[in-house]
């Protein structure tokens, strides 16, 4: 009974979060603008320049998994901001006055970020196919990528909710969102291989979960080199578990 309730609570939150997107899907397209530009402009230009060594693959092949991850992070990192908005109205106080446990709220919100991320990534995915980026598209690779994308959405929305529990104002959360995205992106293997980085950046890239997320997608979509796939999946899942747990614990601080 309690197990069933645990899942129905989470799904209730996720369900109604997703209905909001159903009512107004323009957000998905607005948030897709930046990743699309990365892929279309940056990707195509640098493919021609051949300044970044990407081995046997074209630069745009190399970049596509990175941009997929980026499109997800753009959405997920602002979940904390939305939560602060809810707090500034009475929405959050009312939600917390219902019997639903706090961790279910956090899990439901992060799960909805994960599901939403799939729609977000789909735009990039479709675009990549249209501009004829050569990707491995087997049922297994697609399922694998969808799992990674969902985990990524959960992971970074968890981080965002965790930060919101401490910073609590829209201005700070807006600033934090902006401040986190670019360093995360640049200090990872999303747009260039870790090998060409200076040592200090290599260290950061190795502890940046985004590197593992991108590598997982890259091995499934581009290289078909699966020798470290378990590591990539493992780190992604672990980072997600840690950040979502931290967010669940810290969450009730947000209204204090």
């Amino acid at each position: 009974m309690t197990v069933i309730r645990f899942f129905t609570d989470i799904l209730t939150i996720t369900d109604f979060e997703l209905r909001k997107i159903w009512h107004d899907s323009s957000q998905i397209f607005i948030r897709a603008v930046q990743p699309v530009l990365w892929l279309l402009v940056f990707g195509q230009v640098f493919s021609k320049l051949r300044v970044i060594p990407t081995g046997n693959y074209s630069y745009i092949q190399f970049l596509t998994p990175g941009v997929l991850a980026q499109s997800v992070i753009f959405v997920a990192i602002f979940y904390g901001f939305n939560l602060v908005m809810d707090r500034d109205m009475g929405l959050l106080h009312k939600l917390l006055s219902t019997p639903i446990p706090r961790y279910s709220i956090v899990l439901g919100k992060t799960l909805s970020a994960g599901v939403r991320s799939i729609f977000q990534a789909l735009i990039v995915f479709i675009l990549a196919v249209i501009i004829r980026v050569h990707l491995i598209l087997t049922p297994l690779s697609i399922i694998g990528v969808l799992i990674i994308i969902t985990l990524t959405g959960m992971c970074f929305s968890g981080l965002s909710i965790f930060l919101a529990s401490f910073f609590k104002t829209r201005e700070r959360m807006m600033g934090i969102g902006q401040a986190i995205i670019m360093p995360l992106f640049f200090a990872s293997s999303a747009i260039y291989p870790i090998d060409i980085m200076p040592t200090w950046l290599k260290v950061i890239a190795h502890i940046n979960p985004l590197s593992y997320i991108v590598e997982a997608m890259r091995s499934m979509l581009v290289t078909a080199d699966y020798h470290r796939l378990w590591l990539d999946f493992g780190v992604t899942a672990l980072a997600t578990a840690v950040l979502v747990s931290l967010a669940s614990t810290a969450f009730s601080r947000i209204i204090r």
């Binding site: 109604f16 009512h23 500034d88 109205m89 009475g90 929405l91 106080h93 219902t98």
Partner: protein, 328 residues
């Protein structure tokens, strides 16, 4: 039976004591008002009772459930309508209700019926399938109250239920609150800084100021304790004062022979009686005026300041925010 029991409740934020050793009880079926200016500790008291924030010391029970020991159970029997907008503008009215039906674990078989019932009671049928952000202020407030009615709460906490509403919508909310008690058998704790609202709605009020309760009682009684209403009668007959004294009325010392100030309870009803009696004694009246004792006077007496002093900035800010939310 007491549905709310607050015992020596104290809540501190760092050095600041928001709620200072507060004790009161609310009986089953009562509408109880916490009245006070902003920062008096009303909202903090409510949030402590709803287990939203931890208390510093003291304790409380809601529906005989200990707030400190069983927070989950307290939330199961309570309904909370915060003063700020608490419906999701990006969902329809119906979805907002369905969401809370599921959050409150209303059995699937009963959900539709409950939602229908609330839509009917709160008169939301017209716009139930439109996004809540298109609602007027009054309608939004009805939806906000409707959301927690889904749970059929035994204790309802309303934080400033009519704030920011126009006079018509305000009246409507007042009527709903009274019906809620009667039809849903709920006990209601509300906060307000509107004297009129407290007077109109509440069976009993507690005046709060600086985190403390200054006085508790029924509005009428608190007003009477002030000394009652004052009726000023002028007459062209110079024996007016003498006659009134003979009839046994209490006059203020500065009364003159033909212009008298009387202290009475329930002044409005006393006027015709006094005029009749004077007429029977052959004294005709030229003018009568009544100054009714108000809760504002009560507040002034106990809190040492008029309520709402220096509140304008806050009220304006809020109004702007609400508008921005609705149209933004």
């Amino acid at each position: 039976m007491n549905m709310i029991e607050v015992d020596n409740l104290t809540k501190r934020f760092g050095q600041f004591t928001a709620v200072d050793d507060v004790t009161f009880q609310v009986e089953k079926g009562e509408i109880f008002g916490l009245l006070g200016p902003n920062g008096a500790g009303k909202t903090t008291t409510i949030r402590c009772l709803l287990t939203l924030i931890p208390v510093t010391s003291g304790g409380a029970k809601v529906a005989e459930i200990d707030v400190l020991k069983k927070p989950q159970q307290v939330r199961e029997v309570s309904g909370y309508v915060p003063q700020d907008v608490s419906v999701d503008g990006d969902l329809t009215g119906y979805e907002n209700l369905a969401f809370y039906a599921r959050l409150f674990h209303v059995p699937a078989s009963a959900r539709k019926e409950r939602i229908r019932e609330v839509i009917r009671f709160m008169e939301l049928a017209d716009k139930a399938n439109q996004l809540a952000r298109t609602y007027s202020g009054g309608m939004m407030r009805r939806l906000e109250i409707g959301q927690v009615l889904i749970n059929r709460p035994r204790v309802l906490f309303l934080d400033e239920p009519s704030i920011g509403l126009d006079p018509v919508a305000k009246r409507m909310v007042w009527d709903y609150v009274k019906q809620l008690r009667d039809e849903f058998d709920a006990t209601i704790l509300l906060t307000t800084h509107d004297m009129n609202e407290a007077d109109h709605l509440c069976d009993r009020i507690a005046i709060m100021n600086g985190g403390k309760i200054a006085v508790i009682g029924p509005p009428a009684k608190l007003k009477t304790e002030l000394g009652g209403d004052i009726i000023t009668i002028t007459s062209d007959n110079s024996s007016c004062r003498q006659v009134l004294e003979q009839l046994g009325y209490k006059l203020l010392p500065h009364s003159e022979d033909s212009a008298c100030d009387l202290v009475v309870d329930d002044g409005e009803r006393k006027i015709p009686e006094i005029i009749d009696k004077l007429k029977n004694q052959g004294v005709s009246t030229v003018s009568v005026s009544l100054k009714v004792g108000t809760l504002d006077d009560v507040f002034l007496k106990y809190a040492g300041q008029r309520i709402g002093e220096g509140d304008m900035n806050w009220a304006t800010t809020r109004a702007t925010r609400r508008t921005a939310r609705r149209h933004g």
